[in-house]
């Protein structure tokens, strides 16, 4: 079954969906949407560097995404407004990445596959990496769940319970960097944040507890992957954007049902 490119695409997407749901919920709870954006945009720079130095795309994007996550965390404590810093970093990272990639002839031709993903080209090795990475991040989230939720709700309450909110913030930033690296083949650098935020936002409508929101987001993300890939096959549309479009439809439906 793994011989079929479509099956591999579905499995890769599901692996990502499983971790994007819970992690995306934290992104929504902590208002880190823009933070996700800047990390994801930096991934393009990682691709350029990976191709230039002939290392794995995953290693390149992971390294740059981690560096970006650390840079943002460091700058935020310096007193600039968060949205300004992220606005500067997010778009600069994308621009620098696009400039850098133009120096790498091999990458120029399939630039769009890095921007929007190329899930249909996912191979067995990619699958192993995506599922291993996703399982790892999920395990970290589950093990630290109580701490992460407490410090997302209120940092003072967390500190009173002996939790260091800075540690939890760093854990989430690193988890985000890993997921960005995993997702670059699946939805591409421009749509990774969408994969994190849209399913979580849709799940928020019905959820009464953080756990249900995280689980709901994973489910909606998984359904979006299946629906999006199916549509992309039937209608010959680009896979990554189709998946995000499907998630957006779930969001609209969830909002409409709430009103009713």
């Amino acid at each position: 079954m793994l011989d079929d490119f479509f099956m591999r695409a579905v499995l890769a997407g599901l692996g990502l969906a499983l971790v994007a749901g819970p992690l995306g919920s934290f992104v929504v709870w902590r208002r880190m949407a823009y933070f996700g954006d800047s990390t994801a945009h930096a991934a393009i720079l990682g691709v350029a560097m990976a191709l230039a130095f002939e290392v794995s795309i995953y290693a390149g994007t992971l390294a740059v995404a981690v560096a970006m996550a650390c840079l943002v965390s460091a700058l935020v404590t310096r007193g600039q407004a968060m949205d300004t810093i992220l606005g500067v970093l997010s778009h600069s990272a994308l621009a620098v990445g696009l400039v850098a990639i133009s120096f790498v002839p091999a990458a120029r031709s399939d630039l769009s596959s890095y921007l929007f993903g190329d899930i249909l080209a996912v191979g067995r090795a990619d699958l192993v990496l995506i599922w291993t990475g996703a399982a790892l991040v999920l395990a970290v989230l589950v093990l630290r769940w109580q701490r992460l939720v407490t410090s997302s709700l209120n940092e003072e309450l967390a500190m009173a319970a002996g939790i260091d909110p800075r540690v939890e913030r760093l854990v989430l930033s690193l988890a985000l960097a890993v997921v960005v690296a995993l997702a670059i083949r699946v939805v591409g650098s421009l749509l990774i944040s969408a994969m994190l935020i849209v399913p979580a936002a849709a799940a928020r409508t019905w959820a009464r507890t953080p756990e249900r929101m995280a689980a709901g987001a994973a489910l909606i993300a998984a359904a979006s992957v299946i629906l999006g890939l199916w549509a992309s096959l039937r209608l010959d549309t680009p896979a990554g954007p189709s998946i995000v479009t499907a998630a957006a439809i779930f969001f609209v439906v969830s909002q409409a049902l709430r009103r009713a």
């Binding site: 929504v28 709870w29 208002r31 109580q146 701490r147 939720v149 407490t150 997302s152 709700l153 209120n154 003072e156 309450l157 967390a158 500190m159 009173a160 319970a161 939790i163 928020r204 959820a207 009464r208 507890t209 953080p210 756990e211 249900r212 929101m213």
Partner: protein
Amino acid sequence: MTPLIESRALTIHRPGTTEPVLAQVDFRIRPAEIVTVVGPNGSGKSSLIRALLGHMPLASGAVTRRQGLRIGYVPQRVQLDTAIPMTVRRFLSLPVRVSDDQAEDALVRTGVPGLGARQLTQLSGGQFQRVLLARALLADPHLLVLDEPTQGLDQPGIVAFYQLIEEVRRQTGAAVLMVSHDLLVVMRSSDRVVCLNGHVCCEGTPQHVSTAPEYRALFGAGAEGTLALYQHRHDHDHDLTPHVHGPGCGHDHADRAQG
């Protein structure tokens, strides 16, 4: 009795400056004692609490907490975000999971039974304060720390809340450390009052403090002996108006005069 928390010559600077928020504060709270910290806005009340809890770096001085001290903390203004869905029941299990029975017990004790299924964002101010208190009690604390616990409550709500605090102390024997604006109500339920304005202006029993000249200089003579709601006098400037010390107020200002 060993104090639960003790500070010696505690000094805190405004972050990134050498401007002191608090200077040379000696403070202690003993088991089962109710201590209230009063003072105008910006007098360093919340900073003192946060330093005592170890949430804030000290510029100098020392804070000692008793070994194994369990603290139940109700912070000032818990900003709740609608982004995170949270029932009262789930909130009580953060960060330590508790059983349904324990959770409901705590809610009953703080006078808000049956709220477990409610979203935190749907609670009234008074209900939310009681839920916060319930959560603090679940840790079975030796010391309850409440930073402006009655902000946003009306007068009857404030009185009821302090009655509840006294009752909790009776039941559990926990010491209570409060920061408050609600001078008279709070003072009646306190064993000891510490009047703060960048340093300890005066401290002692509520009777002593309410008649101390320092206290009256800070809060106005109108604050004494009446039930009028406290109004902060924004024109008061402690540094420009040297105050007179009442009897038994044994601190001096040498450190400030030199600085």
